[in-house]
């Protein structure tokens, strides 16, 4: 009976629900998906033997590779735009003195309201009978409505809108920890605002930028709802492709293989993120 054994026992009991969660609701589902990815599609959309690697081979089909590529490009574009939009905002908040918290809340708050509603808001604005088109028509600037919705651009807009806070927060955290003395030293040595930004602030914000980029890229890569609603079925990304296999196409093994592939990508990105956490000041 050591001093620590009482705590160990309590800890074991307390972690039991979480272990059950992990086994039943986390590991088991993934294990089943991996098994399914190695099976064959049955006659009526079910599953059966034989074991095969066919589903993974299909991933290399140009049609599907194209979708993967498009997803990558979309996620990358989202990340870049979020960075361009988000960095100045993070900079502003970090210099806002006593009001920092309010400005931070203003960024976080819309994110924690309904994701679905936020996407619908853009549908309301962008569609043919939406606010923007109606307004432009009323002002006589256009005659026929502009096709603002149901295309890649709308999806990109939705992704940026949805994930911007994921970029702003880590960048802000890094900028916050920046020693103001460094900026003052730069000014003291004769640097004007722009060069200071480029040569002092920006390099030191790299850890935050790296974290924010991965935090935006990962969900953007696996996005489903945004391309589904704002792309109207025309913008097919990995997420939409996976969903389709489990509903319309009824090709579970292939959908499972896609999921395994997507999770592998996510896994690599997470490892990159952990590495940058260890090196950087995230």
């Amino acid at each position: 009976m050591t001093a620590a054994s009482g705590w160990e026992r309590l800890r074991a009991w307390f972690l039991l629900p979480a272990w059950i969660w992990m086994a039943v609701l986390f590991a088991a589902p993934f294990a089943i998906v991996i098994v399914y990815s190695l099976l064959t599609r049955g006659a009526y959309g079910g599953l059966g033997l034989p074991w095969t690697l066919e589903n993974f081979a299909r991933l290399l089909d140009p049609l599907y590779l194209g979708i993967v590529l498009r997803s990558f490009v979309m996620a990358a574009a989202t990340t870049v735009i979020c960075l361009l939009l988000g960095f100045p905002l993070a900079l502003f908040i970090s210099r806002a003195g006593g009001r920092k918290n309010i400005y931070l809340q203003l960024v976080i708050l819309p994110f924690w309201t309904s994701f679905l509603v936020r996407i619908y808001a853009w549908m309301f604005l962008l569609r043919d009978t939406g606010l923007i088109n109606t307004a432009l028509q009323h002002l006589g600037l256009i005659h026929d409505p502009l096709p603002l919705l149901y295309n890649n651009g709308a999806v990109l807009l939705g992704l940026v809108y949805g994930y911007l806070p994921f970029m702003v927060l880590p960048v802000y955290a890094t900028l916050e920890r920046l020693d103001p003395a460094l900026v003052e030293a730069a000014a003291d040595l004769g640097a004007k605002p722009w060069p200071t930004l480029l040569h002092v602030i920006l390099p030191l914000s790299v850890p935050g930028i790296r974290a924010g980029s991965i935090l935006v890229f990962i969900p953007a890569l696996g996005a489903y709802l945004t391309p589904d609603l704002l792309g109207g079925g025309r913008t097919v990304l990995i997420g939409n492709l996976v969903e389709n296999q489990f509903t319309n196409a009824r090709d579970w093994p292939f959908g499972a293989a896609l999921s395994v592939g997507l999770m592998a990508l996510v896994g690599v990105l997470v490892l990159l993120m952990l590495r940058s956490e260890r090196e950087g000041l995230v």
């Binding site: 009976m1 050591t2 001093a3 620590a4 009482g6």
Partner: protein
């Protein structure tokens, strides 16, 4: 009479740190006892071994004659006053004091709490929360909380460290007085030698996980048994292997009186400390020494040739 607390060859090794390396100690009932040593010497670990927060690697802890190694903190009849008091923030002062009594389902909780708070002079502040109390008041709540359980030994982990200096001196007297009144054995852990000297009936000096000397404050200060103890308890001048405390040395321009030993020296500086003066001198034999002299014993200029003197009976000869 059996000691209330005994440590036998107590050892505690952590994975990359040997904190306690074989300590044996017998603490008698009813006194004020201190463990004195620099940070990292193992005194806090020893305290935690006694309280039951750590298990010994080897050796025994005995309370009132019984080995308690296997007992959890809540089974031992000792109580700890933590360095930052560890008062429960969501409870009032009275509820904090009542906490231990409630856990042990003791009767007459209200009366005991009232008496404990009276003992520490906090009547009237029972319904305050720790956040609404001053540092000194929080310490008294911590004391009351532990004392109300009538432990065999009260362990105090650097209790005065978090207080400001003026309050510290006052609390020394109060703690000493409280121990006398309550009669419970107090075991104090501190790195402040003035604290240990002024409050203890007996103290143990620790260094590097071992006890270097046990004794009364006079024993330990005037007759240190090792160089470390001598140096830790106060300032020492080391001259030719002999230790001399600054307050037993004098400076004189002429040759000193009969019986005194002396060395020729050159004054290198003089520091006025208010109640006394420290004269720094370099002896002919090369050592630097400090003499503490009364403040109106004349001023000495740097560069002066003087004699550095002392009585042979004040010498500390140590291995």
């Amino acid at each position: 009479m059996e000691s209330i607390l005994e440590l036998r060859d107590l050892v505690k090794h952590f994975p990359n740190h040997r904190a306690v390396n074989g300590i044996s100690l017998k603490i008698p009932r009813g006194g004020f006892y201190s463990l004195l040593g620099p940070s990292g010497c193992g005194k806090t670990t020893t305290l935690r071994l006694i309280a039951g927060f750590e298990s010994p690697t080897s050796g025994e802890v005995l309370l009132d004659g019984a080995v308690v190694n296997e007992q959890k903190p809540y089974q031992r009849n000792v109580s700890t006053v933590f360095q930052n008091y560890a008062l429960f923030p969501h409870l009032t002062a009275a509820e904090n004091v009542a906490f231990g009594l409630k856990r042990k389902n003791q009767p007459e909780i209200e009366r005991k709490v009232r008496e404990a708070l009276e003992l520490v002079r906090l009547t009237g502040k029972e319904s305050r929360h720790p956040a609404q109390l001053s540092g000194g008041e929080r310490q008294r709540v911590a004391l009351a909380r532990s004392l109300v359980l009538q432990p065999d030994v009260l362990l105090l982990d650097e209790p005065l460290a978090a207080l400001d200096p003026k309050l510290r001196k006052q609390m020394r007297l109060e703690l000493k007085e409280m121990q006398r009144r309550v009669g419970i054995t107090f075991l104090l852990v501190t790195h402040d030698q003035e604290e240990a000297l002024s409050m203890s009936d007996q103290l143990a000096v620790m260094n590097n996980g071992a006890i270097e000397q046990v004794g009364t404050p006079q024993d330990v200060y005037l007759r240190p048994r090792t160089r470390f103890v001598a140096g830790f308890l106060g300032a020492v001048n080391w001259i030719d292997g002999i230790g001399l405390r600054p307050e037993v040395t004098r400076i004189s321009r002429g040759l000193p009186a009969n019986g005194a030993r002396f060395r020729p020296a050159t004054v290198t500086g003089s520091v006025f400390l208010g109640n006394c003066v420290h004269v720094l001198a370099r002896l002919e034999s090369g050592e630097d020494a400090v003499a503490e002299i009364p403040r109106n014993n004349g001023a000495y200029q740097a560069g002066e040739s003087v004699h550095f003197c002392w009585n042979p009976s004040d010498e500390m000869i140590l291995p």
